[in-house]
């Protein structure tokens, strides 16, 4: 698959994924918008720019492995997988419907492109470490990425996995932490403070890069910084519910479904972002939509 390297195209794609995710949750009357929106640029850049994947051959041995440990961001995750070509885009409408491959939380046995079943928080970190160990033992060129939520890193298994990654010097492993500051019942700082989070990860042996998690350029740069013998953590500062003003920085929108009126406002706001990017994009004649990453 050719990686998408054009920043504006990636920005646009992130907003399109948000729109997909919003419509999925609205259609299903169930699902998680807040943590999907905060992860939009992270997922977009990881999947469309950085990862080496082959949607026609999901089991390709040399693919990069992406563990979406915060499985509740399934809406935006599925939106990305469908736009990559792992399954038809129309199938997004079946999200959380009886008989659908698009389960409430990702099921690797049902949906192509899902590396590991997830949902119960923290587990993906551990599986990612095991996979990175295994790939290194196989002398595989593949890299392992794992998307974590911030509430998620309150789980003890994350730190068990972190210790293990450092012990084995897993330079082929990158954790991406979506630090949107809100979890189900409130602000992370109130529910169970994580700070000093950057220092914690450094002390656990990780190379830490703190970035704006909505900046495609910064995500690209962070993902491109390889480590030789040390696992990496990208601490991505994000906004929960990013893109729809009334959903932003609110634990209420962790798992809420918009009403008909709220839906109209939300769609309009996201469409506005899309239109702005498109108009700027059209003004720059030289930008190519996609080209091979050097």
């Amino acid at each position: 698959m050719k990686p998408l390297v054009d920043v504006r195209s990636l920005q646009r794609l992130a907003w399109e994924l948000r729109l997909d995710a919003l419509q999925m949750v609205f259609g299903a009357k169930s699902g998680h918008i807040g943590g999907s929106f905060s992860a939009a640029e992270l997922i977009t850049t990881l999947y469309f720019y950085r990862a080496r994947l082959d949607p026609q051959n999901p089991g390709w041995e040399d693919r990069d492995r992406i563990f979406v440990s915060k499985g509740h961001c399934a809406p935006i995750y599925y939106a990305a997988l469908s736009r990559l070509g792992f399954f038809p885009h129309e199938e997004l409408a079946s999200f959380r419907q009886l008989g659908s491959r698009l389960q409430g939380h990702p099921d690797r046995l049902k949906l192509p492109g899902v590396e590991m079943s997830s949902g119960p928080l923290g587990l993906g970190a551990s599986a990612a470490v095991g996979c990175a160990l295994g790939l290194r033992l196989s002398k595989s060129p593949s890299r392992v990425y794992c998307l974590l939520g911030d509430g998620e890193v309150q789980e003890g298994i994350v730190w068990e996995a972190a210790m293990c990654a450092a012990k084995y010097g897993l330079g082929n492993l990158t954790f991406v932490l979506d630090y949107n500051r809100y979890q189900l019942s409130g602000a992370v700082d109130n529910v169970m403070p994580l700070e000093p989070l950057e220092q914690k990860w450094r002390d656990f042996g990780f190379a830490v890069r703190r970035i704006d998690g909505h900046s495609i350029e910064q995500i690209m740069k962070a993902l491109d910084s390889d480590n030789l013998d040390q696992p990496a953590l990208i601490l991505a500062l994000t906004v929960k519910g990013k893109g729809v003003t009334f959903m932003e920085s609110s634990s209420a929108w962790h798992g809420r479904v918009p009403s008909q009126e709220e839906m109209a406002v939300a769609e309009e706001e996201i469409q506005g972002h899309l239109d702005r990017i498109t108009s700027v994009h059209d003004g720059r004649k030289t930008v190519s939509a996609s080209r091979e990453r050097s």
């Binding site: 599986a127 095991g130 196989s138």
Partner: protein, 316 residues
Amino acid sequence: MITTQSKQLRATYGEALVELGEGNSHVVVVDADMAEGTMTGAFKKRFPERFFDVGVAEQNLMGVGAGLSLAGWIPFVNTFAWLLVLRAGDPLRTLVSYARTNVKVVAGYGGFSGPMDGATHQAIMDLAVVRALPHMTVVVASDHYQVRSLLPLIADLEGPVYLRLSRAEVVDVHDESIRFEIGKATPLRTGGEVTLISSGPILGRVLKAADRLGELGIPASVLEVHTLKPLDREAILAEVSSTRAVVTVEEHNIIGGLGSAVAELLVENLPVPMRRVGIQDRYGETGPYEELLDLYGMGIQDIVEAADEVLRRSGD
């Protein structure tokens, strides 16, 4: 090779794991600071690059195993039984059972076999947990010959397996003419008037109980159900249809283990008088292994009396 001298079952596992590693280059071993207890130390010494120690972190133990399987390896994940099913219960369910990864979960210290450490270190509920997890194959090993026989079969079986071992000292109860098959019960004595169904190292006691019953003029069949799941329904029903009296014997709580599995099968298909010999829904305690088994209702005499009782009821 048959082991006639008393030896810990875990020691044979440690040896068999090295042999497996020599024959199958995809086998990797993960432990949680228990290599001295689970006997994976020999594998570590022989194949250091294929051995991973995650420290005292059983959740991560299970997750790392699942991840290794996704990378194409056949991980054997080892620690105490209760830790595997309780502490690591969610990763076991989600990453191994639900995700149907090719992880081999090897449980040391099954039943009372960690006797001196007390009730916290004894696994009386592990089989109830894993039996209720879809996709799992559940195997309970009884002797050295069986461990050596089953290990390569388990490695070759695609999908998650729970293998329950024991720290107990046992002698072989099988001879080398027996061929085991995962999912198939092994008839050890046939033609009885009562059927004794069992698995695990307690099988030695069951065979002695069958001898004693024979001396009392009550011939007993013995069926070894080493694969608790999938249960060999046909073999059990065929055997029980000829005796119509059953005693199950297990080193486990009578809730959720072998006795429950057999009872569930029989009550729907062939209701006959039945007794479950095992731990009667209570915790164990510190004490010598064999004495604990006697004290908690798994004595040879307990089996004999249960067989006698079901036989009387079946004659009514």
